[in-house]
Amino acid sequence: MRNKSFIAVVLIVLLPVAGLGWLGVRLLGSERQALEHRTRTLVEAQLLIIDDSIKAYFDAQRSQLLRDIKGLPRDTTALRTYAQSKRLVRQVFVMDARGERLHPPVNAALTEAEQRFLVRSADIWRSRDILYQGAQPPAQEPDLRKTDAMRSDGWYVWHWATETDLIFWQRDAERLIGIELEPARVKADIIGLLPATASNEEHLGPARIQLLDERGALAYQWGELNGGSDATARLLAQRPLSHPLGSWKLAYYAPAANGSAVSGKLGLASAVSALALAIAGLAWYLHREHTRTARLAMQRVNFVNQVSHELKIPLTNIRMYAELLAQQLDGSEERPRRYLDIIVAESQRLSRLILNVLNFGRMQREAVRLHRQAGVIDAAVASALEAFRPALEGKGVQISFTRGAPANAEFDRDALEQILNNLFSNVEKYGSSGARLDVITEQSADHTVIRVRDYGAGIPLRERERVFEAFFRLNSKLSDGVTGTGIGLTIARELARLHGGELRLLESESGAHFEVTLRTAGARA
C-alpha cells in the first residue's frame, strides 16, 4: 500500500513538476539564445554605426585632399609650405609617370622631416605598385572595386614602428601626388568621433568598446562594465574597421555575470516551485479525499464484519438446536427430520456466506493466513461434498467422486473447505441443470489437483476470467433470480494462490470445469 502511494505521489507531483522544469529550462535556454542573438545583432549594429562614422571621416578627408591636390602648386617650396600649414598632413610627395621622385626634391637639400619620410617610405620608392595594392579596398565595397590601372586615387596604409601610417595618393598621366597624414592627428580625430558611452541602446546593459590597432594593441577604449572585472568580461562581438583602417578592430565587451539569465532561472525556479506547491496541494487534497473514501469503505467493511460476527451466535444456536432436536427423533419421524435437515443446511449456507464475507474483508486487509496441518485431501473433499449432497441430490444432480489424493499431506483444511464450498455452491446454484457433478482428485509429491465439473449452462468464453473478479456476477437468464454476493470465486482463487496453487476455469464442451491446484508438501501418493 505504501509503495502504491509513493508511486502515485511520484506520478501526480514529481513527474509533472520535473517535466515542467525541464520544459522551462529548455525554454529559458532558447530564450537566452534568442536574447543573445538579439544582443549580438544590436551590438553589431552599434559597431557598424561607429565604423560608418570612421568611414565617413575618411571619405571627408579624401574629398578634402582631392581638392587640396587639385589646387596644389608644383614647386618644392609651395609643397613644403602646404605640408607644414595643414595640421593633418605630415608629408607630401610627388613622383613622375615612371615612378621617379620629384618631391621631396632629388637635387636640393632635404629637410629632416623629408629625410625621415624617405626612410619610412623606402618601399614605395622601390616599387610604387605597392601603393595601388595597399589601396585595395575590401571586397564589400563594389563601387571602389576597380582594377589598379583604372584607379586614380586611393589610400595606402603601412605600419612603421608603432604607428599606422596613412598615405592618400592621386595620380594622372604625368605624375602621382601622395599626402602622408599625421598618425597622431588621425588617431585623435578618430577618437574624437567615437561616442562618449559604449551603449546608447537601453536593451544593452553596461559595456566596454575597445579600438584595437593592427597589432591588436589597445588604441582606445570607452564605456564601463559597472563592477564586472575586465578579466571576466565577455567578448560579445568584434568588427574590423572599413578601409583604409581595415587592419584595426572594434571589440565589444559585456560583463560576465548575465543578470537576465540568473533572474530568468530564479523566475523559472519560483514558477516551478509554485506549480509544484499547487500540484502537491491538489495531490494532498486528492489523497485526503481518497483516504476519506477508503476510511468510509473500511468502516463499511468493519460494519459488515461486525454484523457477520454478531450473526455467528444466533446461527450457532439455530444449527446446534436443530441438530440436537434431530438427535431426539427416532426413525419414524421422517417429516420433522427433513425439516430439521433443511434448517441445518440453511444455517450452514448462512455460515458459508458469513465466512466468505469475513474472509473477503480479511483479504482486503491482507490478513489471511493459512494454517497447514497434516490431513488427507480426499477426506476433506468427501466431507465438503457430503455437506452439499442433500441439496445437490435434491436438485437431481448425480455426484461422482474419483478419489486420487489419499496421502497424508500438509494443507489448510478450512481454506480447502471454503474453496470447495464456493465451487459446490456454484454447481448447486448454476450447474444443476446438467444433473451431474464430477469431482476428481490427483496427487503428486508436492501438489494436489482437484477438478470440479458440472454439465450445466457453463460460463461464456468472454466471461471466463471475469468470473474471478470481485462482485462480478454473470448477467444471464441463468443467474437472474439466483442469490449471490459475487465474491465466492474471488475468495476461492485467492485462497488457492495463498496455498501456493491456482484456481482455473478449464475449457469444456459443456458446463463449468474448475481446477484447483494446491501445493501440498508431504503428499506421497
Partner: protein, 228 residues
C-alpha cells in the same frame, strides 16, 4: 468425565451441556470468567470448554489461571473470532483445540472425542492397549472406537461405558437401573425412552444385524445382556 463449559450465551451453553451429556459427560456451566475459575477450583473438571469473549474475565485470562492450577487439563477454546491472533494466543496459552462459531454438533463431538482419547490414553497404563472382544467386534475403550473387520466405528463415551459394563457382566442381565447408574449417573434421571433410544442407536452402529442383535440382547422387563 466432568466437563466445565464456560460460555456467556445461555442458549449455546445449555445446548453444549445437552450435547455433552448425550455423549456421556457430566457438565458444569459458568456464565462468566470468574464463575468459570471458581467452578474449576471447586469441581476440578476433567476438561474445559472455554469461550473467549466472556464478561468479567475473558477466556485467555481464565485459561492462564487454569494453567497455574493444573498444567495438564485439556482446554478447548470456543470463539466467534477466527482471526489469526486468537489461534496464536490460544496455542501459546496451551489450548488443546479450537471450535469456531458457528459450529455443528458433529464438529464439537469430534473434537471432544479427540480430547477425551488423549485424556484416556494418559490415564491408561502405558504400553498396553485394552481390547474388549464381542465376537467379531473389537472394542478399544480408550480410543472410543470399535472395529469390525476393516470398518472402524466411532463411539461416544457413553457407548463405551455401556459396552464395557455389558462385557464385564457378560452372560448376566444388566438391569436398566444399573445401566442408568453406571452410564448416566445417579443424579441423572433419564426417561425410559432415552435409554431405549440410545441402545437402539448403539445397535445400529455396532451390530452386524441391528434387527437381530447379538451383542446387546434385550431381556424383556429387566434389562440387557451380552452373551459372549
Amino acid at each position: 468425565m466432568k466437563v466445565l463449559i464456560a460460555e456467556d450465551d445461555i442458549h449455546i451453553c445449555r445446548g453444549l451441556q445437552d450435547l455433552l451429556e448425550s455423549e456421556g459427560y457430566g457438565t458444569i456451566a459458568a456464565g462468566d470468567g470468574e464463575q468459570a475459575l471458581a467452578l474449576f477450583e471447586s469441581e476440578r473438571p476433567d476438561f474445559v470448554l472455554l469461550d473467549i469473549m466472556m464478561p468479567k474475565r475473558d477466556g485467555y485470562q481464565v485459561c492462564r489461571d487454569i494453567r497455574r492450577i493444573d498444567a495438564e487439563v485439556p482446554v478447548i477454546f470456543i470463539s466467534a473470532k477466527s482471526e489469526e491472533i486468537d489461534r496464536v494466543v490460544g496455542l501459546e496459552l496451551g489450548a488443546d483445540d479450537f471450535i469456531m462459531k458457528p459450529f455443528g454438533t458433529r464438529e464439537v463431538i469430534a473434537r471432544i472425542r479427540a480430547v477425551t482419547r488423549r485424556f484416556l490414553r494418559r490415564e491408561a497404563s502405558p504400553g498396553t492397549v485394552q481390547v474388549l472382544r464381542f465376537g467379531e467386534l473389537e472394542l478399544f475403550p480408550a480410543e472410543l472406537r470399535a472395529r469390525r473387520g476393516a470398518e472402524v466405528i466411532e463411539l461416544s463415551l457413553r457407548d463405551v461405558r455401556i459396552l464395557t459394563l455389558l462385557h464385564k457382566q457378560r452372560g448376566k442381565v444388566v438391569s436398566r437401573d444399573e445401566l442408568y447408574d453406571q452410564c448416566w449417573g445417579r443424579t441423572h434421571i433419564p426417561s425410559s425412552r432415552t435409554l431405549d433410544q440410545h441402545i437402539s442407536k448403539l445397535r445400529k452402529a455396532i451390530e452386524a444385524d441391528p434387527r437381530n442383535p447379538s451383542i446387546i440382547e434385550t431381556v424383556h422387563g429387566i434389562g440387557y445382556r451380552y452373551d459372549g
